[in-house]
Amino acid sequence: MSLVSGISVVELFDALNDSAQEYILMRNNVNELPDQLETGKDIDILIRWVERDQFFATLDKLGYRNLHHPHYENVFLYGVKKYEFFQNPENGIIVDVHFDLACRSLNAGEWIPLDQEIQLSAWENRQLVQYGRMSAWMLGNEDLFVALIVRSVFDKKEFRIEYTAEIRRLLPLIQRDQVLEKLYLVFFKFAPLLLQMVEVGDFDHIVATYMTYSDY
């Protein structure tokens, strides 16, 4: 397993932090950034659509080149903007630029946006987090907690160990009522049972229980 250079990762975030550009690092499970990022894995960054030109110019200055995104041919619904892929040929770092918090629909895997309330909350509650010598703007604890659950259920269809570790880490840090309110916006009446299952660590049964849930 080869890793990309931690120094280059730190330099990327230093440059982003120094620019006037607002961004959100969408996740950093098990603190893989800055030093444990495997070659070929991307860094997911959320930016505002209206600020894309400025952000792309920043990446360009740092030596990143725009690539064909593997999901380019996917279906994006309800205004979700297609993601943009950048790679720095010198250090191999790949940046996946997102413009919305979105997930795959169970229907045919189309990308659809999370509720507007969650989109707004992402920007209102973002927080600067220190990871060793790297600092990055992250989702607020509640939004990150919800985003990790949503990604596990809809995009991965399973709770991977790096996701459960991060969810467990966040559990004592979140405001339960706020999280429940946000989970309602995605999972509707399944939200209370979902949160209960997360709280007791019953991750293995969440997806199957959700798919067969019928109490509504």
Binding site: E73, S105, L106, F154, F187, Y216
Partner: protein, 264 residues
């Protein structure tokens, strides 16, 4: 607010019909949506199940299936033959030997889908039962949701051994004057295994007006060529079209990028 937990349960459309779009969606945790053109009806799961029961009872009361009830049929079979049902004139029960039945096996080569017509002993279900041919494990089936092929065939075999055939008016089904099995391929395979291919069994035959519902197998061009049905030049043209369709299918399924596709 959009629900990512959306599962399309059923849909049909008829662009020149009175109702152009009919769609039933399960929005997990939220509601069942029935879309009829621009109208949307929201139901709970319990309401949908009650509604489905009522529709079943109505179909029975209207005698759309003659003296038979919707409960005698596999719901997926009824769904598939729903377009033909308004043209149903009669349902008869008749006898036929298993070796006289023809079976439709769905095949895929690259991006091309086609049918192979075979006898009961060549069906994936029979080959699994008689010879443990594991190709059956991967054979795509659209009936019996949430049940794998092996569980399904073993349960069916047990049921036929225990209850006999037909049980609860559930027959092997044919359409019009054709002997293609339209429903009950697994039942026929179990019967052939238990009693041999010379066994005479009762089948149910749906008779539609003007032979609506007749089956026309899609065959591979190579097979057509063997039959001398395609002239050399025409064959080359057709093969080009097949290759083109395969590439389009690959493109649609995401295996090719737009750039690859542009060379088509």
């Amino acid at each position: 607010m959009s629900n990512p937990g959306l599962i399309l349960l059923a849909q049909t459309q008829c662009l020149d019909g009175f109702v152009k779009r009919f769609q039933i969606e399960d929005n997990i945790g939220e509601a069942i949506h029935i879309h009829i053109d621009n109208l949307r009806i929201d139901l709970t799961v319990a309401e949908l199940l009650e509604f489905a029961e009522l529709i079943g009872t109505s179909i029975d009361n209207l005698r759309l299936l003659g003296k038979y009830s919707v409960r005698h049929f596999d719901p997926m079979f009824l769904l598939n033959c729903a377009p033909y049902l308004p043209h149903l004139s009669q349902i008869s029960i008749e006898k036929i030997t298993l070796k006289d039945l023809e079976f439709i096996v769905h095949k895929q080569e690259g991006g091309a889908f086609f049918h192979e017509i075979c006898s009961v002993t060549k069906t994936p279900a029979y080959r699994f039962l008689a010879h443990q041919d594991l190709a059956f494990l991967d054979y795509a089936q659209d009936r019996y949701c949430q049940q794998d092929n092996v569980t399904r065939i073993n349960q069916l075999k047990k049921s036929i051994e225990h209850n006999g055939y037909p049980c609860n008016e559930q027959y092997v089904i044919l359409f019009n004057n054709q002997n293609y099995v339209r429903d009950g391929q697994h039942r026929a395979a179990v019967l052939a295994l238990l009693y041999g291919v010379d066994k005479e069994i009762e089948v149910m035959r749906f008779h539609f007006k003007e032979n609506i519902g007749d089956f026309y197998p899609v065959q591979l061009l190579e097979q057509l060529n063997e039959l001398g049905a395609v002239q050399q030049g025409k064959r080359a043209w057709l093969m080009r079209q097949v290759r083109r369709i395969k590439r389009i299918l690959s493109y649609l399924s995401g295996r090719l990028t737009k750039k690859d596709f542009s060379s088509v």
